[in-house]
Symmetry: D2
Subunit: 142 residues, 4 copies
């Protein structure tokens, strides 16, 4: 199975005074890729009106190579690494392109928690959520 | 010794469609606090023209409570947790205020690497950098 | 009468590769000041749940001097220049400080339209909205 | 002659609490399209190291329709409307797509001034700059 892929277009406004994409923007990029991934699994996971939400509990980002402002997109791969009772974890990486010898600019790991808005606390993942997440499971990464 | 403190003013534009400050913005806030902290230790650590740079190698952020759009600032505390040969690490947390019973919204940990721009590789921290960082050292946190 | 004042704290992330606050960020700053102004007139004008919304129809911004990343805030003044049937207009400017001889970095003009969300079209300003806006009216500016 | 076209990909982080792309982001989008346009005319117009810079003097934006978060890009058209002695002006619009019956979400007008960094003042456009801008001239718009 292959990880989900997302074309990440860098904006001029992502670049800081040092001429590189700012560290913070990597986290924004991972968020955009994650939303595309989760939407591809099940559009309603992010539904605004839904009472069953998933919230970010932890983000770890490693920075390996600078990202630059350029017309062609970077490639972000995202996959599920673990499905727990009330949480799950995603792995992700940003690469310069889709080629086998593309450079990895960054890797990341995110933990999300299923949340019951009305109750104001975490909740078990539903069977449907677990089934959908399982289709993106790559415990050992791409 | 006390950690460095930074007043973090939330903007309307930091809030996402769910009505909370977006996860990514926490990382931006930590960056703003970190820059204020490093500048307070030594203004030239971030000098654009300098050949001796420090780059972010890793960021870990834990999310505990939502941050909201409000006029009064949040408080960000930042401190040094470790000084290595060519890298150092910072701890940080975002709190609802300065009171003893203020709520912690998030905690973070950042690793920075001393970098030689001309040589294109990491370099040892200078004695001056180590001395300055040592004045902010709080290995066990606040 | 004096215009509404807003302390605008510049972030490192507002600065672009040229070392100045990016043009786009001025517009964000004006938005933050405008929200503070409108909230000061009547908290509910921006209420998310309300059916009576006000939407931005036009923004004009003049750029006069660069804004820089600095710890002390800039000052943004905002005032009402015109109250129409279903729209109103605001003037605003960004200054380096509150002193009489402070430098003006930018001026702006915004037109907002009262909007009926349910009907999906503009609507007349209510008497209450007009009354509140009138308290901030400075047709000739500060 | 046709205007320059730019594919504008909306990010989740462009959306505000009202569920629409925030007004400020339109200005960011116009900036991205403008940079792509100017780069297409002459890569060096935006060169960081160059002493001959062009700075934004004025931006006018009209808002007509909300932009939404969606996978497919919006289309931004940009063209030159006037070439003066030391300044020039651009027209631009954001459309839902390239089709003839696509909806216009916004129109904009920007004035840029040629600037001599070393001298700290405006300067005449060079013959080369004028020639390059002339290739994008569409005084009456698309």
């Amino acid at each position: 199975m292959s990880p989900h892929t997302y074309d990440c277009f860098v904006r001029f406004s992502d670049v800081d005074v040092y001429g590189h994409v700012n560290n913070v923007k990597y986290v924004e990029f991972y968020q955009e890729a994650r939303i595309a991934f989760i939407t591809s699994l099940a559009g309603n996971l992010l539904a605004v009106g839904s009472n069953e939400r998933q919230v970010v509990a932890r983000i770890d980002v490693d920075y390996k190579r600078p990202m630059l402002f350029r017309p062609q997109p970077y490639l972000i791969e995202t996959w599920v690494t673990r499905i727990g009772t009330s949480s799950y974890e995603l792995g992700a990486r940003i690469r310069t392109g889709a080629e086998d010898d593309a450079t990895t600019c960054s890797t990341a790991h995110v933990r999300l928690v299923a949340y019951d808005l009305a109750g104001g606390r975490s909740r078990p993942l539903t069977v449907d959520e677990r089934d959908r997440l399982a289709t993106g499971l790559l415990p050992d990464g791409p």
